[in-house]
């Protein structure tokens, strides 16, 4: 099977999606953040000039435009670039797009994708390192997709555009250079199907986005000490595949959840609650969260590294669960 960089798989998906469906328009951004691989986006810009709109710096305005266009039958993909910028568009995303289908009594569909780069990116400081997916998970009506590998970004992006619901596509700049296998004839990856990224028998480590990669590295190190960690990647938060996680817990009886949202009311908190509610009898140790500490993200490299779900913190949590 061929190997691709994450950004290559993502752009292959965008290219195939746009070639196959005239309703798809790209709005704002480059889908690359500050990555040096700008030429990939420029290729798309040339090929699909008529269907790419570079709007003014008006997140509220262009997220509303995309939502309205989706109501009228287009399938826009909006790049909010830095995840924290979605706060500028909150009324349109959380109060218009998310509610339209339900409050119209199931009549108005909003097939829009809001793409963003979340999380600690190295020097992003407090205003450019946000992980808004936890807040968005508290808004019924939004699907939330959060890939962690080249194969997943391609398959999930295809499903996100095919979805008839507003979908938040949560990306991470630290994933862009990750390499991995991607099949030639890969199919869309359905929502709500978790992926076991590493098989293990001692501890279940649920991780999302870039933290999946950190978790895999931690798991390799722990394996040298004879600890076999099973890494489970939910891949979508909405819908959420609790079944796969619970069957892993049935085997390991121990769970760590590692994720870059802030700890309080974060993604790890919600996953922990769901596991505890239905899988409490399977647990032999308390569920542990490795989240970003509850402080605004500081700038200096050492400070930033200190608050995130690092390899060291994940390994400590795994060891604590087995102690």
């Amino acid at each position: 099977m061929r190997e691709l960089a994450y950004y290559e798989a993502k752009f292959e998906a965008l290219d195939e999606i746009m070639s196959g469906d005239e309703r798809v328009h790209l709005i704002n951004g480059t889908f690359m953040s500050l990555s040096p691989h700008r030429h990939v986006y420029q290729n798309l810009q040339k090929k699909f000039k008529e269907r790419i709109f570079s709007p003014p710096i008006s997140e509220l305005g262009f997220c509303g435009l995309a939502t309205g266009a989706a109501m009228a039958g287009l399938r826009p993909i909006v790049d909010l670039s830095t995840g924290s910028f979605i706060y500028e568009a909150w009324p349109q995303v959380a109060n218009e797009a998310a509610n339209a289908y339900s409050m119209s009594g199931g009549q108005t569909r909003v097939p829009v994708v809001f793409h963003l780069f979340h999380g600690l990116r190295g020097g992003g400081a407090a205003q450019h390192s946000g992980s808004p997916q936890a807040m968005l998970w508290n808004v019924p009506g939004l699907e939330i997709v959060i890939p962690s590998s080249p194969r997943d970004v391609k398959g999930l992006l295809k499903s996100a555009v095919a979805s008839d619901n507003p979908t938040i596509f949560v990306d991470h700049t630290r994933l862009l250079e990750i390499r991995g296998e991607v099949a030639d004839n890969d199919k869309p990856i359905p929502f709500g199907v978790a992926d076991i990224k590493r098989v293990g028998s001692d501890v279940t480590l649920v991780a999302t986005s870039y933290t999946v990669q950190v978790a895999l590295q931690a798991a390799e190190k722990l394996a040298k000490d004879g600890i076999e960690v099973e890494v489970v990647d939910p891949r979508t938060l909405v819908p959420f595949d609790l079944v796969t996680i619970l069957s892993s817990v049935e085997k390991t009886h121990r769970v760590i959840i590692a994720d870059e949202t802030h700890q309080s009311c974060g993604v790890a908190a919600e996953i922990a609650a769901r596991i505890a509610e239905t899988g409490f009898d399977k647990l032999k140790a308390p569920i542990r969260r490795v989240s970003t500490l509850d402080v605004p993200v500081p700038y200096s490299p050492g400070l930033e590294a200190h608050i995130g779900p690092s390899e060291a913190r994940i390994m400590d949590a795994v060891r604590a669960a087995l102690a």
Binding site: E50, L60, G64, L65, G68, A72, L74, Q92, N95, S102
Partner: protein, 327 residues
């Protein structure tokens, strides 16, 4: 105009009896804006409206019984009881989404217009909002985008507080809006904008027809501010009916409570229109009275339908908040 007026007055009565509980907003006093303006549109055009949507939906042909049922939270409502007064829609009539968030629809209206342009289908979008919407940042962001892209959208601002009973004043700075006239705002983004008397049905029709034509010719967005005088029944937080409408009021307002009398005498667009028709010999008083009586009966039947429509089953609350996706 009669349908809207008697719909709204009946709604106040239903709320008074406790038949529904949510907040709601009346279109009374603005009929001569919405009715002629919407008559200028094609069947497949898009419309976005706000919490003050009843008049727009009815003017476009929504069934009063289904709108009543929606506001009463019943299964036969336009949105099956999921939306209520604020969010009533009728996709078949072009109303895809009605937002109760001030200015929420203004960016959305640029979206349907953007789609129409991409799909080259000639469909126009009309965005109907109140003067307060211009206080939100969403308005200028959307004006900027609409103007840059020359989108086929008509921004129809219904200023129902010409003399400042609402938020913006027609011709002066108000406590909530430094810019005046309001048309200065769209004009800053190079959107042609004009202020008109929203009580004058003929003027509204002529102005909107012309604006719609320009948009269809590809000239880009247009902005019209239609000014009306706030209905005294909308003066308080919860609507009231100072005097039930009857065509006889067109010539004699002595039965109207004194504090509301001036509005019925000079600013009620329905009564103004009735007088115009009679004075121009286009209709006789008795003919208009007969028509009004028919409308009253039809509205009574619609109320009856809605009151007897069942509430949705509680478990419906957990259904239909996601569209079924193909995967």
């Amino acid at each position: 105009m009669f349908v809207i007026r008697h719909f709204e007055e009946n709604l106040v009565g239903l709320h008074g009896k406790g038949v529904f509980g949510g907040h709601y907003h009346l279109y009374v006093g603005q009929e001569a804006t919405g009715v002629p303006a919407l008559a200028c549109l094609d069947a497949d055009d898009y419309l976005f409206t706000t919490h003050r949507n009843h008049g727009h939906l009815l003017a476009r042909g929504a069934e009063p019984k289904k709108l009543f049922a929606e506001i009463l939270g019943r299964v036969d409502g336009l949105n099956k009881g999921k939306g209520g007064s604020f969010h009533s829609v009728a996709p078949g009539l072009g109303f895809l989404h009605s937002s109760g968030v001030v200015a929420g629809i203004i960016p959305l209206s640029t979206g349907t217009a953007y789609a129409s342009k991409a799909q080259k289908n000639g469909r126009l979008t009309v965005c109907l909002f109140g003067d307060g919407s211009l206080e939100e940042g969403a308005a200028p962001e959307a004006f900027n985008i609409a103007s840059l892209l020359k989108l086929p959208v008509l921004f129809l601002c219904e200023n129902n507080g010409k003399y400042g009973e609402g938020r913006a004043v027609a011709a002066a700075q108000s406590g909530s809006m430094a810019a005046y006239p309001l048309t200065d705002l769209p004009k800053a983004y190079k959107i042609p904008a004009q202020q008109i008397d929203g009580i004058d049905a003929g003027l509204v029709h002529a102005t909107i027809s012309e604006a719609v034509e320009k948009i269809r010719r590809g000239e880009g967005p247009q902005f019209v501010e239609a000014q009306t005088v706030r209905y005294p029944g909308s003066a308080t937080n919860w609507p009231t009916v100072p005097a039930p409408t009857d065509t006889t009021l067109a010539w004699d307002v002595s039965q109207v409570p004194e504090n509301a009398r001036e509005w019925y005498r000079s600013a009620d667009p329905l009564l103004v229109y009735v007088r115009e028709l009679v004075e121009a010999n286009q209709a006789k008083r008795e003919e208009i009275a007969a028509l009004e009586s028919q409308v009253k009966s039809a509205i009574a039947a619609a109320v009856d339908f809605a009151v007897n429509s069942p509430y949705p089953k509680p478990e419906e609350a957990e259904r239909d908040f996601f569209a079924k996706s193909p995967l």
